[in-house]
Protein backbone atom coordinates (compact mmCIF):
# COMPACT_ATOMS: atom_id res chain seq x y z
CA UNK A 1 0.00 0.00 0.00
CA UNK A 2 1.52 3.33 -1.01
CA UNK A 3 0.98 6.42 1.13
CA UNK A 4 -1.30 4.82 3.73
CA UNK A 5 -3.13 6.75 6.41
CA UNK A 6 -2.07 5.51 9.83
CA UNK A 7 -4.11 6.33 12.93
CA UNK A 8 -3.27 4.66 16.24
CA UNK A 9 -1.30 1.99 14.44
CA UNK A 10 -4.18 1.11 12.11
CA UNK A 11 -3.59 1.45 8.39
CA UNK A 12 -6.12 2.78 5.91
CA UNK A 13 -5.74 3.18 2.16
CA UNK A 14 -8.55 5.74 1.99
CA UNK A 15 -8.09 9.23 3.39
CA UNK A 16 -11.80 9.98 3.23
CA UNK A 17 -13.94 9.28 6.28
CA UNK A 18 -17.68 9.43 5.71
CA UNK A 19 -20.71 9.86 7.94
CA UNK A 20 -23.89 7.79 7.83
CA UNK A 21 -26.43 10.53 8.54
CA UNK A 22 -28.88 12.67 6.52
CA UNK A 23 -29.10 10.55 3.38
CA UNK A 24 -32.38 10.41 1.47
CA UNK A 25 -32.63 6.70 2.25
CA UNK A 26 -30.56 3.74 3.32
CA UNK A 27 -29.78 2.48 -0.18
CA UNK A 28 -28.39 5.84 -1.20
CA UNK A 29 -26.24 5.81 1.93
CA UNK A 30 -24.84 2.39 1.07
CA UNK A 31 -24.16 3.41 -2.53
CA UNK A 32 -22.41 6.57 -1.36
CA UNK A 33 -20.18 4.74 1.08
CA UNK A 34 -19.16 2.42 -1.73
CA UNK A 35 -18.55 5.25 -4.20
CA UNK A 36 -16.52 7.17 -1.64
CA UNK A 37 -14.04 4.35 -1.11
CA UNK A 38 -14.20 5.06 2.61
CA UNK A 39 -13.07 2.40 5.04
CA UNK A 40 -13.93 4.23 8.24
CA UNK A 41 -17.48 5.50 8.76
CA UNK A 42 -19.08 7.23 11.72
CA UNK A 43 -22.19 6.37 13.70
CA UNK A 44 -23.98 7.90 16.66
CA UNK A 45 -25.13 6.16 19.83
CA UNK A 46 -28.79 6.66 20.60
CA UNK A 47 -31.47 5.30 22.90
CA UNK A 48 -33.44 2.38 21.52
CA UNK A 49 -36.88 3.68 20.63
CA UNK A 50 -40.05 2.56 22.31
CA UNK A 51 -40.97 0.53 19.22
CA UNK A 52 -38.13 -1.81 19.99
CA UNK A 53 -35.16 -2.95 18.05
CA UNK A 54 -35.34 -2.58 14.30
CA UNK A 55 -32.63 -3.65 11.90
CA UNK A 56 -29.57 -1.83 13.02
CA UNK A 57 -27.19 0.36 11.09
CA UNK A 58 -24.44 -2.11 11.87
CA UNK A 59 -26.33 -5.01 10.32
CA UNK A 60 -26.99 -2.94 7.20
CA UNK A 61 -23.30 -2.04 6.83
CA UNK A 62 -22.60 -5.74 6.81
CA UNK A 63 -19.16 -5.70 8.32
CA UNK A 64 -17.70 -3.97 5.26
CA UNK A 65 -16.71 -0.83 7.12
CA UNK A 66 -14.93 -0.04 10.33
CA UNK A 67 -17.34 1.93 12.53
CA UNK A 68 -16.24 5.00 14.46
CA UNK A 69 -18.88 5.83 17.08
CA UNK A 70 -19.31 9.47 18.01
CA UNK A 71 -20.53 11.30 21.10
CA UNK A 72 -22.56 13.73 19.01
CA UNK A 73 -24.90 15.97 20.95
CA UNK A 74 -23.11 15.66 24.28
CA UNK A 75 -22.62 18.89 26.16
CA UNK A 76 -20.98 17.60 29.32
CA UNK A 77 -17.85 15.55 29.80
CA UNK A 78 -19.84 13.13 31.94
CA UNK A 79 -22.36 12.42 29.17
CA UNK A 80 -19.64 12.15 26.54
CA UNK A 81 -17.66 9.69 28.65
CA UNK A 82 -20.74 7.55 29.35
CA UNK A 83 -21.70 7.63 25.67
CA UNK A 84 -18.19 6.54 24.73
CA UNK A 85 -18.37 3.68 27.21
CA UNK A 86 -21.75 2.60 25.87
CA UNK A 87 -20.35 2.79 22.34
CA UNK A 88 -17.44 0.59 23.33
CA UNK A 89 -19.85 -1.98 24.76
CA UNK A 90 -22.22 -1.87 21.79
CA UNK A 91 -19.63 -1.92 19.02
CA UNK A 92 -16.68 -3.67 20.68
CA UNK A 93 -14.28 -0.94 19.63
CA UNK A 94 -12.05 1.35 21.67
CA UNK A 95 -12.21 4.02 19.00
CA UNK A 96 -14.39 7.04 19.61
CA UNK A 97 -14.96 10.32 17.82
CA UNK A 98 -15.27 12.65 20.77
CA UNK A 99 -17.70 15.52 20.28
CA UNK A 100 -18.40 17.88 23.14
CA UNK A 101 -20.50 20.85 22.18
CA UNK A 102 -20.42 24.26 23.80
CA UNK A 103 -23.18 25.90 21.77
CA UNK A 104 -26.24 24.10 20.42
CA UNK A 105 -26.77 26.52 17.56
CA UNK A 106 -23.17 26.64 16.36
CA UNK A 107 -22.18 23.13 17.45
CA UNK A 108 -18.79 24.58 18.30
CA UNK A 109 -16.67 22.44 20.61
CA UNK A 110 -16.37 23.26 24.30
CA UNK A 111 -12.59 23.12 24.43
CA UNK A 112 -12.27 22.99 28.21
CA UNK A 113 -14.67 20.05 28.62
CA UNK A 114 -13.32 18.41 25.48
CA UNK A 115 -9.73 18.27 26.73
CA UNK A 116 -10.89 17.02 30.14
CA UNK A 117 -13.07 14.27 28.60
CA UNK A 118 -10.33 13.29 26.14
CA UNK A 119 -7.84 12.96 28.99
CA UNK A 120 -10.17 10.73 30.97
CA UNK A 121 -11.12 8.57 27.98
CA UNK A 122 -7.46 8.05 27.05
CA UNK A 123 -6.81 6.90 30.62
CA UNK A 124 -9.71 4.45 30.25
CA UNK A 125 -8.01 2.94 27.21
CA UNK A 126 -9.94 4.61 24.41
CA UNK A 127 -8.48 5.64 21.08
CA UNK A 128 -9.79 9.19 20.99
CA UNK A 129 -10.33 11.23 17.82
CA UNK A 130 -11.71 14.60 18.99
CA UNK A 131 -13.74 17.00 16.85
CA UNK A 132 -12.14 20.29 17.83
CA UNK A 133 -11.57 23.97 17.14
CA UNK A 134 -9.32 25.03 14.28
CA UNK A 135 -6.88 26.35 16.82
CA UNK A 136 -3.27 25.13 17.15
CA UNK A 137 -3.31 25.48 20.95
CA UNK A 138 -6.40 23.30 21.46
CA UNK A 139 -5.04 20.74 19.02
CA UNK A 140 -1.75 20.58 20.90
CA UNK A 141 -3.53 20.12 24.24
CA UNK A 142 -5.55 17.26 22.79
CA UNK A 143 -2.45 15.62 21.39
CA UNK A 144 -0.67 16.10 24.72
CA UNK A 145 -3.37 14.19 26.63
CA UNK A 146 -2.96 11.33 24.20
CA UNK A 147 -5.51 11.71 21.44
CA UNK A 148 -4.77 9.53 18.42
CA UNK A 149 -5.60 12.33 15.98
CA UNK A 150 -7.18 15.77 15.95
CA UNK A 151 -10.22 16.70 13.89
CA UNK A 152 -10.35 20.47 13.50
CA UNK A 153 -13.46 21.95 11.92
CA UNK A 154 -13.31 23.64 8.55
CA UNK A 155 -16.47 25.59 9.32
CA UNK A 156 -19.76 24.93 11.12
CA UNK A 157 -21.10 21.37 10.96
CA UNK A 158 -23.42 20.95 7.99
CA UNK A 159 -22.87 24.51 6.79
CA UNK A 160 -21.03 23.74 3.56
CA UNK A 161 -18.98 26.90 4.04
CA UNK A 162 -15.75 25.06 3.35
CA UNK A 163 -12.50 25.91 5.08
CA UNK A 164 -13.06 29.25 6.76
CA UNK A 165 -9.53 29.60 8.09
CA UNK A 166 -7.06 27.86 5.77
CA UNK A 167 -4.08 29.50 7.46
CA UNK A 168 -5.07 28.00 10.80
CA UNK A 169 -5.54 24.55 9.30
CA UNK A 170 -2.14 24.78 7.64
CA UNK A 171 -0.54 25.82 10.94
CA UNK A 172 -2.19 22.93 12.77
CA UNK A 173 -0.97 20.49 10.13
CA UNK A 174 2.58 21.81 10.20
CA UNK A 175 2.89 21.47 13.99
CA UNK A 176 0.76 18.45 14.78
CA UNK A 177 2.40 15.34 16.18
CA UNK A 178 -0.73 13.30 15.40
CA UNK A 179 -2.74 12.89 12.18
CA UNK A 180 -5.03 15.81 11.30
CA UNK A 181 -8.49 15.04 9.94
CA UNK A 182 -10.41 18.04 8.62
CA UNK A 183 -13.92 17.52 9.96
CA UNK A 184 -17.04 19.66 9.44
CA UNK A 185 -18.16 22.26 6.98
CA UNK A 186 -16.95 20.68 3.76
CA UNK A 187 -19.35 21.79 1.01
CA UNK A 188 -18.00 20.45 -2.23
CA UNK A 189 -15.04 18.64 -3.74
CA UNK A 190 -12.67 21.60 -3.92
CA UNK A 191 -12.98 22.07 -0.14
CA UNK A 192 -11.81 18.52 0.42
CA UNK A 193 -8.96 18.92 -2.04
CA UNK A 194 -7.88 22.14 -0.33
CA UNK A 195 -7.84 20.43 3.06
CA UNK A 196 -5.43 17.84 1.72
CA UNK A 197 -3.30 20.47 -0.01
CA UNK A 198 -2.99 22.34 3.28
CA UNK A 199 -1.47 19.22 4.78
CA UNK A 200 -4.38 17.37 6.35
CA UNK A 201 -3.94 13.62 6.59
CA UNK A 202 -7.62 12.91 5.95
CA UNK A 203 -10.99 14.54 5.50
CA UNK A 204 -14.34 13.71 7.10
CA UNK A 205 -17.51 14.45 5.10
CA UNK A 206 -21.19 13.79 5.71
CA UNK A 207 -23.70 16.50 4.78
CA UNK A 208 -21.86 17.62 1.64
CA UNK A 209 -22.39 14.16 0.20
CA UNK A 210 -25.70 13.16 1.79
CA UNK A 211 -27.54 16.37 0.96
CA UNK A 212 -26.11 17.10 -2.45
CA UNK A 213 -28.40 16.81 -5.45
CA UNK A 214 -26.77 13.58 -6.57
CA UNK A 215 -25.17 12.02 -3.51
CA UNK A 216 -23.61 9.04 -5.30
CA UNK A 217 -21.89 11.38 -7.74
CA UNK A 218 -20.72 13.68 -4.96
CA UNK A 219 -19.31 10.72 -3.04
CA UNK A 220 -17.25 9.84 -6.10
CA UNK A 221 -16.21 13.49 -6.43
CA UNK A 222 -15.04 13.59 -2.83
CA UNK A 223 -13.02 10.46 -3.36
CA UNK A 224 -11.29 11.98 -6.36
CA UNK A 225 -10.79 15.31 -4.57
CA UNK A 226 -9.09 13.77 -1.56
CA UNK A 227 -6.81 11.75 -3.83
CA UNK A 228 -6.02 14.78 -6.00
CA UNK A 229 -5.35 17.02 -3.03
CA UNK A 230 -3.06 14.45 -1.49
CA UNK A 231 -1.10 13.96 -4.69
CA UNK A 232 -0.72 17.70 -5.09
CA UNK A 233 0.52 18.00 -1.54
CA UNK A 234 3.10 15.28 -2.03
CA UNK A 235 4.12 16.76 -5.38
CA UNK A 236 5.01 20.07 -3.76
CA UNK A 237 3.29 23.08 -5.30
CA UNK A 238 4.98 26.09 -6.88
CA UNK A 239 5.10 29.14 -4.63
CA UNK A 240 2.67 31.98 -5.15
CA UNK A 241 4.40 34.84 -6.93
CA UNK A 242 3.45 38.48 -7.05
CA UNK A 243 4.49 38.95 -10.64
CA UNK A 244 4.16 37.06 -13.89
CA UNK A 245 6.83 34.65 -15.07
CA UNK A 246 6.36 33.81 -18.75
CA UNK A 247 6.24 30.15 -19.55
CA UNK A 248 7.15 30.43 -23.24
CA UNK A 249 10.81 31.32 -24.03
CA UNK A 250 11.63 35.04 -24.45
CA UNK A 251 14.01 34.51 -27.38
CA UNK A 252 13.13 34.00 -31.03
CA UNK A 253 9.93 35.98 -30.94
CA UNK A 254 8.43 36.73 -34.34
CA UNK A 255 8.95 40.37 -35.27
CA UNK A 256 11.62 40.94 -32.61
Amino acid sequence: MTDPLIIAGTTFSSRLIVGTARYPNQQVMLDCLEASGAELVTASIRRISLEGYAESLVDVLGGRYRLLPNTAGCVTARDAILTAELAREALETNWVKLELIGDRELLYPDVEQLVHAADELVRKGFTVLPYCNEDPVSCQKLADVGCAAVMPLGSLIGSGMGIANPAAIELICSRSTVPVVLDAGIGTASDAALAMELGCDAVMVDTAIAQSHEPRRMAAAMRAAVEAGRLARLAGRIPKRRFAEPSSPQLGLVGS
Binding site: G19, T20, A21, R22, Y23, M29, T42, A43, S44, I45, R46, R47, I48, L50, E51, G52, Y53, S56, L57, V58, D59, L67, P69, N70, A72, R78, L82, T83, E85, L86, A87, R88, E89, A90, L91, I157, G158, M204, D206, T207
Partner: protein, 67 residues
Protein backbone atom coordinates in the same frame (compact mmCIF):
# COMPACT_ATOMS: atom_id res chain seq x y z
CA UNK B 1 -41.45 -1.06 40.49
CA UNK B 2 -40.68 2.35 39.08
CA UNK B 3 -37.64 2.76 36.88
CA UNK B 4 -36.40 5.51 34.65
CA UNK B 5 -35.74 3.93 31.25
CA UNK B 6 -34.29 6.03 28.45
CA UNK B 7 -35.44 9.17 30.16
CA UNK B 8 -38.97 8.05 30.91
CA UNK B 9 -40.19 6.99 34.34
CA UNK B 10 -42.36 3.95 34.15
CA UNK B 11 -43.64 0.99 36.08
CA UNK B 12 -41.92 -2.21 35.06
CA UNK B 13 -42.21 -5.84 36.08
CA UNK B 14 -38.63 -6.60 35.05
CA UNK B 15 -36.07 -7.24 37.76
CA UNK B 16 -33.01 -7.71 35.54
CA UNK B 17 -31.66 -6.03 32.43
CA UNK B 18 -32.44 -9.12 30.34
CA UNK B 19 -36.07 -9.02 31.44
CA UNK B 20 -36.25 -5.30 30.74
CA UNK B 21 -34.85 -5.77 27.23
CA UNK B 22 -37.23 -8.63 26.49
CA UNK B 23 -40.20 -6.58 27.68
CA UNK B 24 -39.18 -3.84 25.21
CA UNK B 25 -38.92 -6.26 22.31
CA UNK B 26 -35.14 -6.44 22.34
CA UNK B 27 -33.66 -9.91 22.10
CA UNK B 28 -31.17 -10.09 24.99
CA UNK B 29 -28.92 -12.06 22.67
CA UNK B 30 -28.92 -9.25 20.12
CA UNK B 31 -25.57 -7.70 19.34
CA UNK B 32 -24.79 -4.00 19.18
CA UNK B 33 -26.84 -3.09 22.23
CA UNK B 34 -25.40 -1.49 25.36
CA UNK B 35 -26.87 -0.77 28.77
CA UNK B 36 -25.95 1.56 31.60
CA UNK B 37 -27.59 1.70 35.02
CA UNK B 38 -27.12 4.82 37.13
CA UNK B 39 -24.30 6.03 34.91
CA UNK B 40 -22.31 2.80 34.91
CA UNK B 41 -22.06 0.26 32.13
CA UNK B 42 -23.68 -3.09 32.84
CA UNK B 43 -21.81 -5.66 30.81
CA UNK B 44 -23.70 -8.18 28.73
CA UNK B 45 -22.48 -10.99 30.98
CA UNK B 46 -24.32 -9.39 33.90
CA UNK B 47 -27.59 -8.69 32.13
CA UNK B 48 -29.32 -11.72 33.60
CA UNK B 49 -27.77 -11.53 37.02
CA UNK B 50 -27.51 -7.91 38.13
CA UNK B 51 -30.74 -6.95 39.90
CA UNK B 52 -32.51 -3.73 39.02
CA UNK B 53 -33.70 -1.58 41.93
CA UNK B 54 -36.47 0.94 42.28
CA UNK B 55 -35.64 4.37 40.87
CA UNK B 56 -32.68 3.03 38.85
CA UNK B 57 -31.85 5.17 35.81
CA UNK B 58 -31.38 2.90 32.82
CA UNK B 59 -29.99 3.73 29.38
CA UNK B 60 -30.46 1.22 26.57
CA UNK B 61 -28.67 2.30 23.40
CA UNK B 62 -27.64 1.11 19.97
CA UNK B 63 -25.62 2.54 17.09
CA UNK B 64 -27.55 4.87 14.83
CA UNK B 65 -26.77 6.99 11.80
CA UNK B 66 -24.44 9.85 12.56
CA UNK B 67 -21.68 12.12 11.28
Amino acid sequence: MQLRVNGVTEDVAATTVSELLAARGVDPAARFVAVAVNGSIVRRSEWSSKPLEADDDVEIVRPFSGG
